[in-house]
């Protein structure tokens, strides 16, 4: 048998030959002992390794194997996807709702105090500092009194960086 015929025999075993060629090879095998022996050897080898992979088991526990996969998945997840919902809600409260509420409360308190001391026609003046929107100043020129309300928590950069308690 030449090499080409040997490969054809293998193709016959694997069902890769067209019907006519398959019939020719089958006839050859029936009359040629060498061809029959080679076909038997190829078949034995194929049968021997059938199902071999099913016997292989992962040599690690489920938990240990999974832990590395999970770490990699966590690492690949974008930070925004993991933290965005909680972070944005907190940021909204911190940046908008809390200062706005504080300002509203201070304004109401200022108005009430102003009305209590002088009525609506009093000399008291409520000022909002342009440079610091979270500070509210009430001046009563008649009484010579100045009151300053600061919103809490101190959210602006100047307040966060101030280490001493002395106001300018």
């Amino acid at each position: 048998m030449n090499y080409e015929e040997q490969l054809k025999l293998q193709s016959f075993l694997d069902g890769e030959l067209p019907e006519k060629d398959a019939r020719d090879v089958a006839a050859r095998v029936a009359r040629d002992n060498q061809a029959a022996a080679l076909l038997a050897e190829l078949r034995h080898t194929r049968e021997a390794i059938t199902g071999f992979e099913d016997t292989i088991r992962l040599p690690e526990s489920r938990e240990f194997y999974w832990s590395k996969i999970q770490r990699e998945i966590d690492r690949l997840q974008p930070v925004s996807a993991r933290e965005a919902p909680a972070f944005s809600l907190w940021a909204y409260l911190r940046r908008v709702a809390v200062p706005a509420t504080a300002l509203a409360l201070v304004a109401i308190a200022g108005l009430v105090a102003n009305r209590g001391l002088h009525g609506f026609g009093g000399a008291g003046v409520t000022e909002v500092s342009v440079s610091d929107a979270e500070a509210l100043t009430y001046r009563d020129y008649a009484a010579g009194t100045t009151l300053v309300w600061l919103s809490f928590p101190a959210d602006n950069e100047v307040a966060q960086n101030t280490t001493s308690g002395t106001l300018p």
Binding site: Q6, Q34, P59
Partner: protein, 199 residues
């Protein structure tokens, strides 16, 4: 919070949950198919640690590509194709790094398998399952990467010649030649191992 029990959920539903970001569902998929995915990597690479690392990499890729899984094949088959592609990439990388091996020279010079005597007796006949497994394991380890890969894709993945040629980026003739050599060499190795064990 109590973790949901996914042990009785089918693969398709687990894939759906995993797509929504449920890593517990994905862990269940890993637990179900981890042996098969590792086995395929080990068959191709023949190195336990490399096979573990690469199979884990395949699972991470699977997670990233879950949206591409259309359900045309089973989830296990889909994952197997991912690990095969990673193994082939790894084998190509290793091939670029190594110098010509004796196996490669042998294959290029051609015809070694033509001179091998035909084995009249089945060398695995009468062997117990464990012993057979050990012998095949040793014999597969002695094949070159190229021959082993063709054998694995044909015998375990049940690919046709044409599919193997496409996957390995070679001609059908090369696939047939490598498969023939791998089978004949494997038969000879199994026979040698039988002789060793009987002496």
């Amino acid at each position: 919070m109590v973790d949901k029990d996914y042990s009785s959920t089918d693969d398709q539903a687990l894939v759906g949950a995993a797509r929504q970001g449920d890593t517990r569902a994905f862990e269940e998929l890993v637990a179900r198919h981890r042996d098969k995915i590792y086995a395929r990597a080990f068959s191709m690479l023949r190195n336990e640690q490399e096979a573990i690392d690469l199979s884990q990499e395949a699972w991470v890729k699977g997670w990233q590509r879950l949206n591409q899984f259309q359900g045309e094949s089973s989830f296990g088959t889909w994952m197997t194709r991912i690990v095969i592609n990673l193994c082939l990439d790894e084998l190509r990388r290793q091939k670029r790094q190594r110098t010509d091996s004796m196996e490669a020279i042998e294959e290029e010079s051609g015809g070694v398998e033509r001179q091998m005597p035909i084995l009249e007796v089945n060398p695995t006949a009468g062997l117990e399952r464990t012993e057979l497994r050990q012998r095949i394991d040793r014999a597969l380890g002695q094949l070159s990467r190229e021959h082993r890969t063709v054998l694995v894709l044909h015998e375990f993945e049940e690919m046709e010649y044409k599919q193997i040629a496409k996957t390995m980026e070679c001609s059908i003739g090369t696939v047939m030649s490598r498969l023939f050599y791998a089978r004949r060499k494997l038969a000879a190795l199994l026979a040698d191992l039988k002789k060793e064990s009987s002496t």
